[in-house]
Amino acid sequence: MNNNVYKKICLSVAGICCMTAFNSHAANWLMLQGTEPESAADRVKVWGFIQAQYQHNNSESNSSGGYIPPKLIGPNLTNQDQFNVNRARIGVRGTGFPLDGKVNYFLLTEFGNNGITAVDGGTAHVTDASITLNQIPGARIRIGLFKTPGAEEGLQAIHVFDYINFTAVTNQMLLERFPNPGYSSNIAPITLPTTTPLSGFDKPVGAFRDVGIQVFDTFKQPGWEHSYAVMIGNGNGLNFGDNDDNKDLYLYWSSEAVEGGKGGRREGLKMFAWTQQGTRVLDNTNDSVANPVEFNRDRSGLGVKWLSKPFRITAEYMVGKGMIFVGPDKPSFYINDAAGAVAAGVGDGANGEANGYYLEGGYYIPNTKWEIDLRYDVYNRLSDDKAFPGGANAGKSFEMEFKNLTLGAQYHINKKTRINMEITDASAEAVDWAGGAGPNDNLDGVDQVYAVQVTHIF
């Protein structure tokens, strides 16, 4: 046989085996991200992915020509139309001492332009750095920086996420923005063109990650798989250290009726529930004195995901209490005062509540490389907000409702490369206010977002 032909055949076989090995790590996100196949892992497996995208936001300005974040393209929030390399991650994983397959590691670094890297002007940021000890049956231990056990949208591997943008509830309620050390005043809506960043944060977003220790494992029964995770973390996201003495507690459970397949797109019916409880320190007093106060931050959710090709359906409901990010109304009025509202007990994100849900489905068109996706999501922010007791705004709260309907399509060029296209029809309103009045002056113009993204995994 010709040497070149032989080499190509060998490489092809090795490639198929590579994919098989990649997909056979385990069967759920806890195991896929936290463990390696025993006695069959690389000492150093280099891997990563690149996501390059184009987005156009069709939203209109407020009555003064100003724009707020939902009307702009993140993370820079300086325009409505841009190309971006939003994720460029490279990392290594494996088992450093191959003779002991019960110890493995995971290291990943972000070089793209997103909420992780853009806020502090950095060009790279470690997103994952963890070691897993698998010696105790039923109680694997993972320690370091890694994804916290929680909502499906946050816990799943982002490079196989079926959409380009997160749902409103995930983006606003779960993707944590950490308060600045001191009081930060509001940033008014900007007019375009601008070079002034709208983000007032000086730390990366939480990226659904924390530094801590997690005990977890998966138990298999015929046709079923049950997983749990208990984690204690700093509650400080990607920041390696802790900024207070409080620790976050994360609990997670999933049970899945396994139909077949392997890896991230394994087929089956998965039911899951999770909760996170923590405390944050926030200075929300508009003065020059450092007077931080502790606020609880609790999040919980439950959901179900069913994948049986060519169909996929996911639904998840989530609630949050405390440290509710309220930025998109007034850009950096995230958890702080706005025009004396907090003094009146109105618009109180620090103590507020929120809830939201999404329902999405996919259809893999048989015998083609195409997949159609449809998602509807609702986020009810400050759902228990107090109303102004008197004055011109009497009876009005800052409760807001965000609704998005997203139609998407995916074209799978190969198993590692795909194109996502999606159109999101977005709307937002402050429910107690008339159109054009109060917060709705900013929210009324929220409109469609068009996005195209190419993902390549290596």
Binding site: P37, S39, A40, D100, G101
Partner: protein, 145 residues
């Protein structure tokens, strides 16, 4: 003894050994293959198991004699909790033999501080490379995927 007689006796001895090995393993086998796994690349682990499976599928369980010999870093394939232990068990059920290098086990025992836990389906042989040489001498075809 004449040279021709000597050659005849040597040939007779080889055939006897070969027949002995073959009859011990699979009496109706027509093909004899030894597969080598000696590096720690997990893809190679999958590949060598795929090759064994493909041989069984193509020739039939009784018509091909397959032995996988692991030595050096490749011995991880035959660790007790290897992720492919299910596949190994399936191949054993189809008559595939697994031979683990004793020399490698000794070296790994020093590195680990204790002997590695081996798959009970693996037979420990004094030396993996010696086993391969012996099998090749008996007429087995060596394949290193």
């Amino acid at each position: 003894m004449k040279m021709t007689q000597l050659l005849f006796l040597v040939a007779l001895s080889l055939i006897a050994n070969f027949a002995n090995a073959a009859s011990d393993a699979k009496p109706f086998a027509e093909k004899y293959v030894v597969l080598q796994i000696s590096d720690d690349d997990p893809f190679k682990q999958t590949l060598v198991l795929n090759v064994a499976n493909n041989l069984i599928k193509h020739y039939g369980q009784d018509k091909v004699d397959v032995e996988i010999v692991a030595f050096g870093p490749g011995l991880r394939l035959m660790f007790k909790d290897n992720a492919s232990k299910g596949r190994i068990s399936g191949l054993v059920d189809n008559g595939v033999r697994f031979a683990a290098c004793g020399n490698t086990i000794s070296a790994m025992t020093k590195a680990l501080g204790h002997p590695p836990e081996m798959n009970p389906s693996a037979t420990v042989v004094p030396g993996g490379i010696v086993r391969i040489v012996d099998l090749v001498a008996e007429g087995y075809t060596l394949v290193k995927p």
